[in-house]
Amino acid sequence: MYAVISKEEKEFIGSLYDEYYPFWYKTAYSMVHNDHTAQDMVNEAFTKLIPKCSRLMSFDKNALLAYVHITVANTCRNYLEKAGKTTVTDPDDEIISNISDGISVEDDCIKSFDISILKSIIMKLSEKERAFLIMSYYDELGDRIISKHLDIPYNNVRMYRTRLISKIRKMYVTESKVSRHE
């Protein structure tokens, strides 16, 4: 995909890069532990963000910063996985895999919603799962793009989503009970 931006978008992404660079760099460095690679990762993450520029401009400023942060972290994670410097399977992914496929969606839909509980659950998820949720439910990206960004085989994206939602439902039930007791 070729990136195409207007002058305003160019200035916007340029200022996002410059203004918060120390934080992007810190995020990348904390994962790759190398100055040059960390800078490469920030550039790669921003290169991925350039085509989405017009959409990013419509984000809430705080949400935008978190989104860029997650993109940088995700770029680093992909790099480390490809370089064989970390385990490809996230421990939390193992949890997802262990959830039975046979769960009936009808029985397991969350009946009532407490956003703050859901938020705390999302914060407990792995970086990759959070990135998946953000891309699916905030950025509203298609499965093919998500599979590219997160390095998940395209055919597994739907399954990944189903299992992740099941995991959230289970965690929600547990968390709700805990909060009721409190």
Binding site: V4, S6, D60, Y67, C109, I110, L118, I121, Y138
Partner: protein, 241 residues
């Protein structure tokens, strides 16, 4: 929409809202973390990385400008193409269905062809403005005459030039052709020399004919224009190619 689908939608909406809240909260944390950073922690990209990023931005920006420009062209190009297509269709239909228009068009194309040939032979046609035949059979043409037609059958070539109701006709026969020249009741007759070859000029009943031959062919130059002088006819005959 089924109850199950409504529940799923509600669930998706709740997750979206939670994700958004989480993002906003994270963003606030990033801001406060950045505010607390020491100056020493506030690193800047090195020049090569900054340059690479600037290049990527510039590329995207240039593509953006190019796309804007192409988009601005799209509308006029569409209109122009539509107009050209309409004109072509109307023109084609007219040529096919309207006789007068078709004849005019064919005449126009023929004129173009004539003009082209005229230019092609202009260098050799000396003083005269008259166009000559495509084969250049007569390089010199008496004034007012224009190429009319050429026929080539059984190795006999007949080239006709016209001027209003007068004509000049050159006929070229193969050398082995036997010919009879009618000299009965002629107005006048004389021997002539055409390009070193013997020939005969005969005038009879308002028609003048020069007949001569060389090693390859027998030629006859024939006219009904009594205003043409013998010299003009001889000059034309000598220019026969």
């Amino acid at each position: 929409m089924s109850k199950q689908r409504i529940k799923e939608r509600l669930e998706e909406a709740s997750i979206s809202a939670a994700v958004e809240e989480m993002l906003i909260e994270q963003g606030q944390n990033i801001r406060s973390e950045l505010a607390c950073m020491d100056d020493s922690d506030k690193v800047k990209p090195d020049s090569s990385h900054r340059l690479n990023f600037d290049k990527a931005l510039e590329r995207a920006y240039r593509r953006g400008r190019l796309r804007t420009f192409l988009n601005s062209l799209r509308k006029p190009v569409k209109y122009t193409a539509a107009v050209l297509a309409s004109v072509t269709v109307i023109f084609s239909v007219s040529i096919v269905s309207v006789d007068a228009f078709r004849i005019r068009f064919i005449n126009w194309v023929t004129n173009l062809n004539d003009n082209y040939i005229h230019v092609d032979f202009n260098g050799e046609s000396s003083q005269q403005n008259n166009p000559v035949s495509p084969e250049g059979t007569l390089i010199y043409l008496p004034p007012r005459f224009m190429f009319e037609s050429i026929q080539d059958e059984n190795n006999i070539k007949v080239v006709t030039y016209k001027s209003e109701d007068s004509f000049v006709q050159l006929t070229v026969y193969p050398i082995n052709t036997s010919m009879n020249i009618d000299t009965e009741n002629i107005d006048r007759g004389q021997s002539v020399e055409i390009n070193g070859c013997d020939g005969m000029l005969i005038a009879k009943k308002g028609f003048t004919r020069i007949t001569w031959s060389n090693e390859k062919s027998i030629y006859t130059l024939y006219t009904n224009d009594s205003a043409l002088t013998d010299d003009e006819l001889i000059t034309a005959a000598e220019s026969a190619d």
